[in-house]
Symmetry: C2
Subunit: 386 residues, 2 copies
Amino acid sequence: MIDVSIIGAGQTKFGRHNDYDLRELFTKAATEAVEEAGITAKDVQAAFIGNLSADQFNSQCHIAPLMVDFAGMKGIPSTKCEAACASSATALRAAILALESGQYDVVMAAGVEKMTDLSTAGVIETLAMAADQTFEANPGITFPGIFAVLAVAHMAKYGTNKEQLAAVAVKNHANAVHNPLAQYQKAITIEDALSSRMVAWPLGLYDCSPITDGAAAVILVRNKAARKYSDAPVKIIASAQASDTMNLCDREDLTSLAAARLAAQDAYKQAKMKPKDIDFAEVHDCFTIAEIIATEDLGFFKPGEGGPAVLEGRTQIGAEKTINTSGGLKAKGHPVGATGVAQIIELYHQLRGEAGKRQVSKADIGLAHNVGGTGATCCVHIAQRW
Amino acid sequence: MIDVSIIGAGQTKFGRHNDYDLRELFTKAATEAVEEAGITAKDVQAAFIGNLSADQFNSQCHIAPLMVDFAGMKGIPSTKCEAACASSATALRAAILALESGQYDVVMAAGVEKMTDLSTAGVIETLAMAADQTFEANPGITFPGIFAVLAVAHMAKYGTNKEQLAAVAVKNHANAVHNPLAQYQKAITIEDALSSRMVAWPLGLYDCSPITDGAAAVILVRNKAARKYSDAPVKIIASAQASDTMNLCDREDLTSLAAARLAAQDAYKQAKMKPKDIDFAEVHDCFTIAEIIATEDLGFFKPGEGGPAVLEGRTQIGAEKTINTSGGLKAKGHPVGATGVAQIIELYHQLRGEAGKRQVSKADIGLAHNVGGTGATCCVHIAQRW
């Protein structure tokens, strides 16, 4: 089992940040994490930073040393990790491996993305680069289109319907009302979702996560040291990552993500747990269909039952399997490179019992499921209350 | 001391590859590495891949799973690491940490870049993104300009001159004549270098590394297992990484890279060695001045002696301190994200005594020095013959 604890976390509000640039967003999250851990920036020995493409969004490569310098950590090894929307989960995993190697004692895992510097068209074009450029993006498909393909396949095979998709959005918006850092703290109805502007059938506007700026950071130490720093550290007990073909055409099944199933299997094995042992989860709902597929891939529901389950309220806070208390990518927002670490931060707050009105009453074990692109990467982490 | 050995290496020819795309270049290098290790692609358990910006060069993010899928390793965790021109040295370091964590037994570290899909202007603009966009690139400075500033500072402080810069290019071109994978297998004279077209004074065309396509990959295992796979594995005995401010304006000294000194200090400490113990080194000569600074930062020569040393032939093959037997970035070529692993591969071949006409006679300990951007990242690795 993995020997790592979170001793501090920091996150910016997710949304449009006209007044802060990339390094300022990072610094805000990193400084909060450092302060909560009761350390100084100089105590951090290495950093791994998730980011999809500051190259495209902000004309800035090589962001890792730039970020740590600005946040007062000049000199430390700092590496950017990129795996599309799963970038900061891979950064978290790299940070965990670095701690497990014994070479470092205090490591930061973080993520940052500032997407609103580009036009919406520019964002869509950049995100499409996380699909296979040769076989998918260049021929013209964009991410809503790709996930619409998955949705149609799921509908055809299992009878999943638009009301079930809408129910994902309604639930996540309801949860986000109680998350002060969420991009949208606004409840919506099934009718709102069903009548929203069509993007790529069957996905309407409310089936899609938004364009977001934001940053998130956590400080990690080995368990033995955790109590020295924190009265309420949170253990990470499993960290798994898997890959798949990028091109949908090469996949055997469009109703499930093989990388998610592989990563989940590995994570459950590491934690010596089964899906039923998970009290709540943050899953990658970049589109509503993705949450339904995620709850099936993670073994929470049988294939085809994810849609009915959400419509029946079985994934609401306190129900059978609580999903996306934070509001998910859908309503909390999805600053691509920051999402993976932000999911872990939601687990951290829930497991410490400090999630306010969105608190899960029994929160002993939480799971985070972060997907890169259309599932060519998936990371699954499991965290536990001490 | 680090417990990791290289058991296989593969590298494409460096240069312009009109007939191969990014994934094909990667697959060629990865397959060679796998075959030399006497394993199959399915035996590789995780991959870390260095790449500066396939985003900009090839409109492709999320390359890591795409590369491993194409190379027959579908399913494994695969993460892109980016730190500008030091990207694949950070990937190598992440791979080493992953092995040291005990979670994997067979790991690939690789790097790939296909730069020639863009125009020269596009390449220059992309590379400039590895400098501080806000304070350097946007105001208009490009990489030759930035390194020209370092050169002028070094000239002013130490009397370094254009003949000494030219001597770096002449030596590295001479070495590359014997490297069949080098971009330029062509000797040049001091006069050629001195009379080449001015790029940014004092740096002429022959002071600059070229625009290059290429890929490089190594297979790593822990030492205990190395002999199972290879009759002549090569040990990595130190792996260090450090960072610095990106913006030159924030640095105290322009004649030395603080991150290089920090990383070197750490690497020597890990290896329990001193600069005099290093038989030969691959150093980051993105511009000729960078090699002179590198040989000083690494402690091979005192500050200010790097220029005279190269002009006096003290860094030629078999002389006092052999530098860049491969031809260096200058003549071997510099496919940015592949350079760090390619340096390690040169150490590997030298330490196995298979470097042909560029073989160093006493090659027991080699060092690789890989710089990101203008020195905001530096990695130093030390490798040893078994």
